[in-house]
């Protein structure tokens, strides 16, 4: 807390010095993980949709296997996953501690999450549109690229927003393997050193970050909807 000897301004400067790098670390963990999880999870979500019975690339056994795998991935507790993937992390980034190392488990944890979100977005697309495309001689790949993905885009963006925000939460746990970030800061200063002010300010920054991300995602999605509905 600011007091007579330190003053408000020095206090604020001190907070900024703590919080700014932590915020950057959080974003540096979250955004690449979200990107990586989308690159891998979105195709998985597409497969979950098109391999399902009655869909353009129907394949029941493969669909079952994928669906089971995604469920297994989602039910894996993140803290255990982080430890379990340590050998893989070392192979990919060369180290198992630090911000870059946290990206690996975060990405892996978010893949099945992204896949299910994408699946539900894609399932919202009117099956009549897929049918119309097939009737016009579209290939299954064209159905995915020209119909399913563009039609579901506003909903997919909302899903990505949710993914990023969920990853902000997960990234706090990544502090456990030296990932740094806002969550780590709150634990180290607020919980372990009893600097309640650091913890409070960190939580406020986290709330603000989540709000900003949500507003950006909603705005982008709504702008797309609006363009389509005129």
């Amino acid at each position: 807390m600011p007091d007579a000897t330190t003053g408000l301004w020095p206090w604020a400067q001190q907070m900024l010095q703590l919080l700014w790098p932590a915020t950057v670390e959080t974003l540096w963990m979250v955004l690449p993980s979200a990107l990586g999880a989308t690159l891998l999870g979105l195709p998985l979500g597409v497969l979950l949709v098109i391999l399902a019975p009655g869909q353009v690339a129907e394949n029941r056994p493969l669909h079952q296997v994928l669906s089971w795998g995604v469920n297994a991935g989602r039910s894996f507790p993140f803290i255990i996953l982080m430890v379990a993937v340590i050998p893989f992390t070392r192979a990919v980034v060369g180290t198992t501690i630090g911000t870059a190392a946290a990206i690996v488990p975060l990405t892996i944890a978010a893949i099945p999450f992204v896949a299910r979100l994408a699946e539900s977005s894609l399932l919202e697309v009117d099956s009549g549109l897929v049918e119309a495309a097939l009737a016009m001689g579209a290939t299954p790949l064209q159905v995915v690229r020209k119909v399913l993905l563009p039609e579901a885009l506003p909903s997919l963006i909302l899903g990505s927003t949710l993914t990023v925000i969920t990853l902000v939460g997960y990234s706090a746990m990544a502090g456990a393997i030296g990932g740094g970030g806002l969550g780590d800061l709150a634990i180290r200063y607020g919980y372990m050193r009893f600097q309640t002010d650091v913890m409070v300010v960190t939580v406020v920054v986290l709330i603000a970050l989540v709000q900003v991300l949500q507003v950006m995602g909603d705005g982008l999605s709504r702008a797309l909807y609006r363009r389509r509905s005129g």
Partner: protein
């Protein structure tokens, strides 16, 4: 153009089995506008979806332009589908694409270069009267305009067949007429064969030259619309001309003919086209010295054809009567003698 032979399709829905198509055989002549009518659940949608293999039948053959669709490879089927346009009750336009983007879609799928695709799409939008709306999104259009986009999209690849599943059912009467007129004129201009599903007889009257009645997955009646008008006991005719068509041989007012002595013939007479406009009955009555007592009748417009359908009682000397009826036939009418006295 389209030959459907003994097509069967059963849906399995858990324990229940629904025989949606139970041996359908149809021949759709090239260049015709072929209506398929029937009650809800009769199998109309299932049948039309078999014509581009959106639905695979369990048995039977489906030939379009001489090609058996079921033997085609996936790539071959896509090729064939590009020559079979389809329009839908709820339009099924892509909300993520502009009107122009919707119409270029089939061309993009076929690998037509972007500029060429856009040029052809604009041309087609002009044909359906939506040249101004190329850059807007479908959500900004009225129902009738959306279906015009649907038609442009279905026809931009210059198909030889157009399938229409209840394409006017979501439209108001004014737009229904406009869309049907558009379909008729396009089919004539492009030499298109149209298969049109509907549950409204008014649509058949306005647009079709052939019609089939589907009931519980079977074709129970079929033929050129103009022939049905004079077909005795025709259920399609009864529905098409319900105002007076329900009258079979037994339903005439008893003792209606009170025109003195001589023989009587009660006959259904159908005038087609030009014959309907002439004072033909009077002329023949004078020439053969017989009297025509009109029991019921009316005029219909079937597409571009005017059709008159009368039930008459002819009274006079027997040989003259038969001559008069023959003369009516020679003048281009269809005559069916209902009873003789």
């Amino acid at each position: 153009m389209i030959d459907v032979v003994d097509v069967k399709k059963t849906y399995r829905d858990g324990q229940r089995e629904v025989m949606a198509l139970d041996g359908v055989t149809l021949h759709v002549p090239r260049g015709s506008v072929y209506g398929i009518v029937g009650e809800s659940g009769a199998g109309k949608s299932t049948l039309i979806r078999c014509l581009n293999l959106l639905e695979r039948p369990d048995a039977g053959s489906i030939r379009v332009d001489g090609v058996e669709l079921q033997t085609l490879s996936p790539a071959g089927l896509r090729q064939a589908r590009r020559k079979i346009g389809m329009i839908f009750q709820h339009f099924n336009l892509f909300s993520s694409r502009t009107v122009l983007g919707n119409v270029t879609f089939p061309l993009e799928c076929a690998g037509v270069p972007g500029q060429e695709a856009r040029r052809r799409a604009r041309e087609m939008l002009g044909v359906v009267g939506l040249g101004e709306k190329a850059e807007v999104y479908p959500a900004q259009l009225s129902g009738g305009q959306k279906q015009r986009v649907g038609i442009a999209r279905a026809l931009v690849g210059e198909p030889s067949v157009l399938l229409s599943d209840e394409a006017t059912s979501a439209l108001d009467p004014v737009n229904t007429v406009a869309i049907l007129d558009l379909l008729r004129s396009l089919s004539r201009q492009m030499g298109l064969t149209v298969v049109l599903i509907t549950h409204e007889m008014a649509v058949v009257k306005a647009a079709c030259d052939h019609v089939a009645l589907l009931e519980q997955g079977r074709v129970v009646e079929e033929g050129p619309v103009l022939d049905l008008a004079s077909r005795p006991g025709s259920r399609l005719a009864a529905q098409l001309f319900h105002r007076y068509g329900g009258t079979g041989a037994g339903a005439a007012p008893a003792g209606a003919g009170t025109l003195g002595l001589g023989a009587r013939r009660r006959a259904a007479v159908v005038f087609v086209g030009a014959a309907a406009g002439e004072p033909l009955l009077t002329r023949i009555a004078r020439r053969y010295d017989v009297d025509f007592n009109i029991l019921e009748g009316g005029m219909e417009r079937l597409g571009d054809t005017v059709l008159g359908r009368l039930v008459v009682e002819a009274v006079g000397e027997a040989p003259r009567l038969d001559q008069a009826l023959t003369a009516l036939q020679e003048a281009g009418c269809r005559v069916e003698v209902l009873d003789v006295a």
